[in-house]
């Protein structure tokens, strides 16, 4: 299968180094302490953050905040309208991944005896749901005013037809090639997540990862813009 034409265009008309159109919106769930919608092309996810709040299970109280995460896919998120059972292996794994990634950024020691719940749901899936979920969760956490070391942004990159591709969509994702999902702390310049379930020679992995880092940084810039604009608006709307 030809995923990159000799003219250098992918199946959806992007060039290998291009990301899909991204869009973010803060405040989609009014009940939640923080919430956001994040879209990467046709991948749309919604994230809601509750907390920091009283720990539900007393035995888990500690002098760090307890971070919990639940990932789910809406029944209508894919082409076939199948009932998605909650807690299947895939979503458990992704929940864990997101939790660990976000935990690395949250200053949990500032929020003792409390818990933070992150709920992410995929509204529409078109590849790269993990990344979109992480980006949405970052926005929701920032919206909830939870102190963080840095933003976490995530982007995927792959390698098909001997070309590194940024931000794989579903078709490219299901090609069976390597799919590197990367999460970084852009300001600290640190990696918090690196996943790949395929083999890739180390030198190619480096170029693919570099591409993914570029993608993460671009997303970080966008998220910063959105957050800054949001903060300014809140401030001036509030008045003195």
């Amino acid at each position: 299968m030809e995923y990159v034409s000799p003219e250098g265009l992918r199946l959806d008309g992007r060039r290998p180094m291009e990301m899909r159109q991204i869009r973010a919106e803060i405040g989609a769930v009014s009940k939640a302490d923080g919430s956001a919608i994040f879209e990467m092309g046709n991948t749309k996810v919604i994230a809601a953050v509750y907390g920091p709040r009283e720990v539900q299970n007393r035995s888990q109280i500690s002098n760090h905040a307890l971070v919990r995460c639940e990932y789910s896919m809406a029944n209508f998120s894919t082409g076939d309208r199948m009932r998605k059972s909650k807690g299947d292996r895939r979503s458990t794994e992704i929940s864990l991944v997101i939790r660990q990634t976000m935990e690395a950024a949250i200053l949990t020691h500032l929020l003792p005896r409390s818990q933070i719940d992150i709920y992410v749901q995929v509204l529409q899936a078109d590849g790269g749901t993990r990344s979109a979920c992480i980006n949405a969760a970052t926005l929701a956490l920032a919206d909830a005013g939870i102190p963080m070391r840095d933003l976490v942004t995530s982007c995927s990159a792959g390698y098909l037809n001997s070309t590194s591709l940024l931000d794989l969509n579903y078709v490219e994702d299901s090609a069976g090639g390597p799919d590197v999902t990367l999460g970084i702390l852009p300001k600290l310049d640190k990696v918090t997540l690196l996943q790949m379930d395929s083999k890739l020679p180390i030198d190619i992995l480096e170029t693919v990862m570099q591409l993914a880092i570029e993608g993460c940084k671009a997303i970080a810039n966008y998220i910063r813009e959105i957050l800054l604009e949001n903060t300014k608006q809140l401030e001036y709307r509030r008045g003195v």
């Binding site: 009283e54 963080m148 300001k187 008045g239």
Partner: protein, 325 residues
């Protein structure tokens, strides 16, 4: 970006947009680049020596923000005042909470903080108003004072080893009845001298809790307490009797007119919450008056048109304030 969640027609959209721009221009002169987001570095003059306060952290000698908010500087202290976040208690704050648990000698209250707040039985003025040691019997009868889901007004006492403690050692504190509890983001409430308001013209009470919980209820004369005080004795049976009488009281009728005003005031708070405007008595009152003067039904207050109107009025108000200054 957090947008105002309203179904707007095209003209309303334009009007709202214009108003927001106006608001922006009004405030931008004050603090244009004070807004920061997570991981933004905050420019400081290191030679002065800085104290890093809340919402900041050190990154390779640089002061960076850890939350989104506004940079505030007080002498050497630099901190970030976060906007949308949970309530940050300060001693002496008047807060409103909801009882989530009745435990040993204490109630746990949800006050929109990172954890539930504790109101000790001993930090409560007993209904009889007598200062005395609390007996085991008192403990058994705690539910006669506050039950689960009761709304309680109290004051922040401070942090103890096991969390945040509240106290309610005055008559103005205590259980709140016959009204509505509203929850708004805490940053919209500014600490003021007075948080208890009696809106005489409507016969309602308005308590603006520092934690973003706002109570709107029928006005209760402080006298009521006195009457009860006289009735009740330290006798536990009286306490029991007392609770019955409270129930009776609940059955008491609040006149329609007052109820309407309560709703009106509650809606005014809601409108402000939608628009993310500051909650002050003056503004709330203004909105109630506006709705009355326009002869709006209570439910119409939540319509888009009214919201836009409130926004416009608020812009007007702020600009006139500015001019005055």
């Amino acid at each position: 970006m957090r947008r105002i969640q309203l179904p707007l027609s095209q003209t309303q959209k334009v009007r709202l947009q214009k108003t927001l721009e106006q608001l922006e221009s009004l405030s931008s002169k004050v603090n244009s680049d004070a807004s920061v987001i997570i991981a933004d570095s905050i420019p400081v003059n290191h030679e002065d020596g800085v104290l890093k306060g809340h919402g900041t952290a050190d990154l390779n000698g640089e002061v960076v923000a850890t939350v989104c908010g506004v940079v505030e500087r007080v002498n050497k202290l630099v901190y970030v005042r976060s906007l949308r976040s949970r309530y940050k208690p300060e001693v002496g704050d008047i807060v409103i909470g909801r009882v989530v648990e009745v435990a040993q000698k204490r109630w746990r209250l949800d006050i929109n903080f990172n954890q539930d707040a504790v109101l000790m039985l001993s930090s409560m003025n007993m209904p009889d108003g007598v200062q005395r040691r609390r007996t085991a019997l008192d403990e058994l009868n705690m539910r006669c004072i506050f039950e689960e889901n009761d709304v309680v007004c109290a004051e922040v006492r401070g942090f103890q080893h096991d969390g945040l403690h509240l106290q309610a050692r005055s008559r103005k504190y205590g259980k709140l009845n016959r009204g509505q509890l509203l929850s708004v983001p805490p940053y919209l409430v500014k600490r003021q001298k007075q948080h208890f308001h009696h809106l005489e013209e409507f016969g309602i009470d308005l308590i603006i809790g520092c934690n973003g919980f706002i109570w709107v209820g029928e006005h209760i004369e402080a006298k009521d307490d006195m009457v009860e005080d006289q009735v009740s004795q330290s006798d536990p049976q009286v306490l029991l009797h007392n609770s019955v009488s409270l129930e009776e009281q609940e059955r008491n009728y609040t006149i329609l007119e007052t109820r309407k005003y309560i709703c009106r005031a509650a809606n005014a708070v809601r409108v402000l919450s939608i628009l993310s405007f500051n909650m002050t008595l003056e503004i709330i009152k203004g909105i109630i008056d506006l709705s009355l003067s326009m002869n709006l039904d209570i439910h119409e207050m939540l319509g888009s048109e009214f919201c836009v109107l409130v926004a416009e009025k608020e812009a007007e108000r702020r600009s006139s304030n500015k001019k005055k200054r």
